[in-house]
Assembly symmetry: C2
Homo-oligomer: 309 residues x 2
């Protein structure tokens, strides 16, 4: 009989569920809406029913969960986006899904995105990997010796909240100023562009828009727009700097750049690479860096990774 | 029959050798000079003879080495201070010390200092620990899940070379400017003091000396000297900042501060603690931080840790 891994990536809007073979090959995926009513009390029930409806429970080897919040030793410490406070996910899930011989594991979404890329994406086969997920914010995931590093309070890999900028000092949602995500996320790139447009009267294709996305800044930069280029260079520099700090801490085999911003591909990667080496100095010569390949499915793959045999 | 662990800390001037019981209790220690002639070719032979002379070889469970340079997978990549290039220490040692059933392991000196504190010092019992060794330079050692993190090129834990200062931009031996060790090592503290004395005409007890040590700056600061206090505050701030970067990466259970500068004790630790939390923000509330307790013997203990059963 075939055996399956189930990977569940719980987001604030929808829940992605994937059924994988034991090698991390995706067989089927689907998604259900996230019901955040009543502090998200229906979320685990909805997931359990959905799995039971789709998959022969007898064939399930394990179920992994990714959640958008800190996790330590299998306990979710809080998930503002889901309405959850502290929650022992595997215990609660097993109350609804009464097959307690099936292992249930849970980890943070940025961590499992990294694990997913290592399981089946552009980090396949690596064991010491750091991933930066550049989206609305900046998430970080770390694997040491093939295992996710969660840290004491589940906040290992909060690479988006290293304080790295003292020039713009932009406020971060965390309450600090100058965090990586204020200058290197999609939001950060837009922040930098708006500041630069205000700062000078230089011509720029960006001036025709009242509002624009990070993707627009990249597109304009690729077309040679001087302001857009300066912004992408600066964001790349901040990211390269943040990566250098992690590189001198963990000296990983591989950095993976994921999230929406990573769609800029080699255009971004080349800029980061150039700027990385002056920050690490003589200690690291040939740092492997790649763009993530699983897109929004990385978390689902990584959730399955948690319960691989 | 009693069983012993042998810990060998190879320094540029002397080699410390310790004989430990299996729990990391030191039974006897001694040291021999480091013979750096002919690219340090006699070093391993001198160690082998010294061990054979002192200890009943039949009772040795394992021999661990610490070396002042990067190590990856048991291979020393280079050790300028010993005259060594790339060297497979366990292979070479076993050619001289022909008991190849006795395991031989090797790691970097800053890593084993951390491991030593965890084995028998102020980090005893912890598994996720980061140590900053503040001496002439700044060394770093990292344990994740009870294991030393060496990194791909053996440069994990090069925390002294994270670029953290852009105010003074002092040159570092590594070729970069503004590394942690330019502002937070013993040398860095003296650097900062000399700059501050030049910058102002403010009275300071330090002005009576042409040259002074970091210890002197601490002593003057403890006596309330304004300039010395500013220097120690600033160095503590840099160190707290460097620690925040590592904390948001690994979220360790414990930070250990070691090396000569750590003799300043709680005076230093309290200053670091105050400055650490604004840099980490809401992610970490109660970070454990302690002063190392094994002094210069930490490396020897950590070398023994490498071969603990």
């Amino acid at each position: 009989m075939s055996r399956y891994l189930i990977g569940v990536d719980i987001g604030g809007t929808s829940i992605k569920i994937g059924c994988f073979d034991l090698n991390g090959y995706l067989i089927e995926k689907w998604d259900i809406p996230t019901d955040k009513s009543n502090q998200g009390e229906n979320i685990l029930k909805d997931i359990a029913y959905s799995i039971i409806n789709k998959v022969d429970v007898q064939s399930i080897t394990g179920i992994g969960f990714g959640v958008p919040g800190p996790v330590s030793d299998g306990v979710v410490l809080n998930c503002v986006n889901l309405g959850w406070g502290q929650k022992n996910v595997s215990q609660e899930f097993n109350r609804i899904f009464p097959y307690d011989y099936i292992p249930v594991r849970v980890s943070n979404d940025a961590n499992i995105a990294c694990a997913g890329e290592v399981f089946s994406g552009s980090g396949k086969g690596y064991k010491n990997v750091v991933m930066f997920t550049l989206g609305t914010g900046v998430g970080g995931g770390i694997l040491v010796d093939g295992k996710i590093v969660e840290g004491l309070n589940g906040v290992a890999g909060e690479l988006g909240h290293m304080l790295i900028d003292r020039k713009y000092n932009l406020p971060c949602n965390c309450g600090k100023k100058g965090c990586t995500e204020t200058v290197a996320s999609a939001t950060g790139i837009v922040n930098l562009a708006k500041l630069k447009l205000k700062e000078t009267t230089q011509r720029s294709l960006l001036r025709q828009y009242d509002n624009f996305s990070a993707k627009r800044v990249f597109d304009m930069a690729k077309q040679g727009d001087e302001i857009a280029l300066q912004v992408i260079d600066e964001a790349s520099d901040y990211l390269a700097y943040a990566m250098s700090l992690v590189a001198l801490t963990l000296n990983p085999e591989l950095f993976i750049i994921g999230g929406g911003v990573s769609n800029a591909g080699d255009f971004l990667l080349d800029k980061i690479k150039t700027r990385f080496y002056p920050y690490v100095g003589p200690f690291i010569k040939n740092q492997k860096m790649v763009i993530a390949s699983l897109g929004n499915d990385a978390g689902m793959y990584g959730a399955a990774f948690l319960v691989r045999p």
